[in-house]
C-alpha cells in the first residue's frame, strides 16, 4: 500500500521538477551564445552584455517602473474608497455593486485594450462622436499616460478585495468602542478602521506594483503603435530583433524580469503574514449598523458606477458594437454598416473555431484537471508538520515570479529541450501545463484554504478510529473540501478562459486559444475577426461568472 509520506514526497518531487525545470532551462539558455538546441553552442556572457548595452531595454524598464508606480497610485486610493463604501456605508444597490466591482478581474486585458482602441482610439466610436461635437479628440489612447490610467482603473478590484476582506474581519466592537468614547463615524473610519487595515492595503499596493511589471496586453495594444515598450513587450519584440531567433537574449530579459519579481513576491509574503497578525487581534464579528452617508448616498453610488462604466462599460460596448459593423469612422451611419459578417467569417476560419473549442476545453476539462493537481499538492502539504512544507511554499512562489508570457516561453523551450515531450508540444497539453504552472500558487491557495477550514479533530478522529493518513485524506478531507474544490474549478475556468499571454509562444496549429489568437490576429490588423472573437470570449466569461454567482462561489479565493 502507498504510504502517505511517499505520496507527499512524490508530489513534492513532481512539483519541484515542473517548477524548476523551466526556470533552470531559461537560466542555462541565458549563458549560451545561441539557441540551446544548436550544435557547438558555447558558454558566454555576451547575451547579458548585449541586453545591458541596449538602450531600449533600459527605456522599457523605466517605462515599466513609471506604469507600475502610476497604476498603484491610481488603484490603491480608488480601491480603498470602494471597499469602504461597500463594506461600511449604506450606499444603495450593494447587491449589484459587490459582484460588479470584481468583474474587471475576470476580463481579459487584451479584450479591454482592444475595446479601448475601438471606443476611444483616434477613429474610435466615442472619439468620432466627440470630434463631431467639438472638432477635436482631446485625448490620446496611445500613450504611457493612457496605459497607466487604464491599468490603474482595471486593477482597482484587487485593492478592493484585500481591503474589504480586512474591513470585514475587523470586529464591530473595535469601532463601537471608538464610537462610545465620543468619535464621529468619519473619525472612527480614519483613526481606527483605516490604520487597522493598513497592512492589507500595503499588501495590495505591492501586489499592484508587481502586476504592473507583468503588464503585457495593454502596453502591447496601446504602446506598440507609438513605439512605447515595457519589459514584457520588449521581450516579445526581441524575437525579431536580430532577424534570427535570439533565444539567449530573451532568456536574459526573462532572468531580469524574474530578478525584479522575486523580491516583490517575497515582500508580499512578508506583508501577508504581517497582516494576518492583525487579524488575530480582531474582536467579535457582530452585525454592525452601516455608516449613514445621507445626501452623499447617490453620489457615492454614482462614483462606483462611473468607475465601472469607464473601466468595463466603454471598452465592452466599443468591442461589441465594432463586432457588428463593417467599418467605423467619421460620418459613418450605424444603420448602413450593421452586419453579422464578422461572425460568419469566424465560422469559416478554422483556426478561430479551434480556438473557441480549445478555450472551452481548457477551461472546463483543463480547469478540472488543474484543480485535481492543486488538490494533490494541497493534500500532500496538508497539516504536514515538517520543514519540507517551507520548500513547497517557495516552490509555489517561483511561478508567481514568472509572467504568463515568460512561462509560456519557458514551457515551449522545455518541450523542445526534452525529447520525450516533443510530440506533445503541438497539443493542448503544453498549453494546459503552462496554465497550470502559472496559476499554481493561486489554485493551491484556493484549495488549501478550503482544507484548512476543516477542523483538525475531524481528521484526527479518523486516525484514532484506525484510518491511515491516506484513508483519512480520501474519506474525510476530500469529501469535506468538495464544495471548495468545485468553487476553485469555476474560478480556474474563468482564469483559464481569460488567459492570453501564457499561450502566445505556444500558439500554433492545435494549440490555438482565443486569447493568444486574438493577440496574433491583432498584429495582422484583422480587427473584424478580433472584435468578434473578443465578444465570444466575453460571452464565455459571462457564462462562467453567471454560474459562479448561481453556485454562490465567492469570487475572491
Amino acid at each position: 500500500m502507498l504510504r502517505f509520506a511517499t505520496f507527499r514526497f512524490a508530489v513534492l518531487a513532481i512539483m519541484a521538477s515542473a517548477v524548476i525545470a523551466p526556470i533552470g532551462l531559461i537560466i542555462y539558455q541565458s549563458f549560451l551564445d545561441g539557441p540551446f538546441f544548436t550544435p557547438n553552442v558555447k558558454w558566454t556572457l555576451e547575451a547579458y552584455q548585449f541586453v545591458i548595452e541596449d538602450d531600449e531595454f533600459w527605456d522599457a524598464l523605466r517605462t515599466s517602473i513609471i506604469v507600475a508606480g502610476g497604476m498603484t497610485a491610481i488603484a490603491v486610493p480608488l480601491g480603498v474608497i470602494l471597499a469602504f463604501l461597500l463594506a461600511r456605508t449604506d450606499v444603495p444597490g450593494k447587491w449589484i455593486l459587490e459582484p460588479l466591482v470584481l468583474v474587471p478581474i475576470f476580463m481579459s486585458a487584451v479584450v479591454l485594450a482592444f475595446g479601448y482602441v475601438v471606443a476611444l482610439g483616434p477613429v474610435g466610436i466615442f472619439s468620432t462622436f466627440v470630434k463631431g461635437m467639438i472638432g477635436t479628440v482631446p485625448w490620446s489612447i496611445y500613450s504611457v499616460t493612457a496605459i497607466t490610467i487604464i491599468a490603474g482603473l482595471t486593477h482597482v478590484p484587487h485593492v478592493y478585495l484585500y481591503t474589504s476582506a480586512a474591513l470585514q474581519n475587523l470586529g464591530a466592537d473595535l469601532e463601537e468602542a471608538a464610537r462610545t468614547t465620543g468619535a464621529s463615524p468619519l473619525r472612527v473610519a480614519v483613526t481606527v478602521s483605516l490604520p487597522m487595515v493598513t497592512p492589507a492595503v500595503l499588501y495590495a499596493a505591492v501586489l499592484i506594483f508587481f502586476l504592473g511589471f507583468e503588464l503585457f496586453g495593454l502596453p502591447l495594444v496601446l504602446g506598440d503603435p507609438k513605439g512605447v515598450l515595457v519589459l514584457a513587450t520588449y521581450l516579445y519584440k526581441l524575437t525579431n530583433k536580430l532577424g534570427v531567433p535570439s533565444y539567449q537574449l530573451m532568456a536574459v530579459v526573462v532572468v531580469a524580469i524574474i530578478l525584479i519579481a522575486i523580491p516583490l513576491v517575497y515582500l508580499q509574503r512578508l506583508l501577508l503574514s504581517q497582516s494576518n497578525k492583525y487579524v488575530s487581534v480582531r474582536g467579535k464579528a457582530a452585525k454592525r449598523a452601516p455608516l449613514r452617508l445621507g445626501a452623499l448616498r447617490w453620489p457615492a453610488f454614482g462614483l462606483i458606477i462611473l468607475w465601472f462604466v469607464v473601466t468595463v462599460g466603454i471598452p465592452v460596448f466599443g468591442i461589441l458594437l465594432r463586432s457588428f459593423v463593417t467599418t467605423w469612422g467619421e460620418g459613418v451611419r450605424l444603420s448602413e454598416v450593421l452586419t453579422l459578417s464578422h461572425y460568419r467569417d469566424l465560422v469559416d476560419y478554422p483556426n478561430a473555431m479551434h480556438a473557441i473549442v480549445n478555450t472551452i476545453l481548457i477551461g472546463v476539462i483543463g480547469g478540472g484537471l488543474a484543480v485535481a493537481c492543486y488538490t494533490a499538492v494541497s493534500l500532500a502539504m496538508h497539516r504536514w508538520r515538517s520543514g519540507w512544507t517551507r520548500l513547497a511554499d517557495y516552490l509555489v512562489m517561483i511561478p508567481r515570479a514568472m509572467p504568463g508570457l515568460v512561462a509560456g516561453l519557458a514551457m515551449l523551450w522545455l518541450f523542445l529541450f526534452l525529447p520525450p515531450l516533443q510530440p506533445l508540444r503541438a497539443t493542448l497539453f503544453s498549453v494546459w501545463l503552462a496554465y497550470t504552472i502559472v496559476w499554481l500558487a493561486y489554485g493551491t491557495r484556493l484549495v488549501a484554504g478550503t482544507m484548512l477550514q476543516i477542523g483538525p479533530e475531524l481528521e484526527e478522529a479518523g486516525r484514532s478510529v484506525g484510518a491511515t493518513a491516506g484513508r483519512v485524506a480520501r474519506d474525510v478531507t476530500v469529501p469535506l473540501a468538495r464544495s471548495g474544490m468545485i468553487a476553485a474549478w469555476v474560478l480556474i475556468f474563468l482564469i483559464f478562459a481569460r488567459e492570453y499571454s501564457t499561450g502566445i509562444y505556444l500558439l500554433g496549429p492545435g494549440t490555438e486559444v482565443i486569447g493568444s489568437l486574438m493577440v496574433s490576429l491583432w498584429g495582422t490588423g484583422a480587427i473584424d475577426l478580433v472584435s468578434a472573437l473578443a465578444v465570444i470570449n466575453i460571452v464565455i466569461i459571462s457564462v462562467g461568472l453567471g454560474l459562479a454567482l448561481r453556485l454562490g462561489v465567492r469570487l475572491h479565493g
Binding site: L458, A461, R463, S464, V465, A467, T468, L480
Partner: protein, 353 residues
Amino acid sequence: MADLVIDNIKLSYGSVDILKGVSMTLEKGQIVALLGPSGSGKTTLLRCVAGLEEPYAGRIVIAGKTLFDGAKGINLPPEERGLGLVFQSYALWPHKTVFDNVAYPLKLRGVSGADVKTRVAKALESIGIGHLGARFPHQLSGGQQQRVALARALVYEPPVILLDEPLSNLDAKLREEARVWLRQLISELGLSALCVTHDQVEAMAMADRILLLNGGVVEQQGTPEEMYGRPATLFAAEFMGANNRLPGKAVSVSGDAATLVVGDTRLDGLPCGPVQEGDNALGIVRLEQVRVAEGPGPNRLRMTLTAEMYLGERYELLFKRDDVTVRIFSPTRIAGGEHWLEFPRSAFWVCKA
C-alpha cells in the same frame, strides 16, 4: 494488570516544555481523570496516548503493547494504536450519517457488511440512540452527538477509551445527567477510561482516581477522597474545592502538626507541602468545614459578619477581621455582629505562602 502505563513522558513545543516527565497507570476497569487548569498539559497528555502528539522521551504501554518508546524510537501512528478517542467537539463527520460515522471504524477493520449492520445497531442501541442511525450529525442535539461520538469510539471494543472534556459542550443541566450516565455506562461495559477535565467536581464524580496536573508535572494523584480530604500541596488544596485563605505565620511545625498564627490567634492544623517554622504561610480550609461556635475556645477566631447571600439550599456568610476574610455555609441566617468561628484541626492545612 495495568491496562495503560505512562512512564516519564516529556513533550515540548519548540523551546516550551509542555510535559516535564509525567507518569501514571490505569488499572483495568478504572476511570482515571486528568485534572488541571488550562495549560497544565492534560489534553496534551491524552493526545500523546492517542498518538496525535509526539513526546520526545518516555514510554506508553497498553496491555503489554508498547505504543511509544522515546529511547527505542517506537512511535505507533494513531491508527495502529486501536484506542477509542472521544473529542471535546465530538468531531462527527458532517458528511456521514450517524450510522456511517459509527460504521467507519468497522469498515476500516474489514468487517463484513452484515456484521457492520448488527454491530453498529448494537452499539447505538446500547447507548440509547438506536433510532437515530439515518440522521446527519447537524440534525442532532448536543447530548445526542456526544452519544454518537462515544458509540464511534466504542464500536470496535478498544482496550482503553480516551475522553477529552466529554461534558464541556453540554449545558449545565444536561451535564449532570450525562455525568451519571457516562459513569454507569463505563462501569457496566467494564471499560478502562482516561478522561480529561478541568472541573474538579466532574473529576471526583466520575473517576476512580484523579491525576492532578500543574505546569506539565503531576501535582498529586489518588482517589477523589484522598485528593479532596488530604491535599499534598497548596495548589492541590486550592484547586480541589472552595476554600478560605487565612494569611499568617507558621510556628512549630512537626510531623503531622503545624500551627499558624493569624494576628494574635494560634490555629492548629496539619502541615501541607514543604512548610517550615517562621515561614509566611496560608491557612486553607474548605468553606463547609468552618462552623459558628458558641463562644471562645481553641482554634476559634472572632470575626464580624459583613454580608450574607441566599443560595437556595443554604446561606453563604461572609466574615471579616482586619485583612482576613472568611466565607462559610450555614443552613440558617444568623444575627449580625461578632461571632466565634471554629476551624477544625483535621481540616485546616498550613501551607507555605
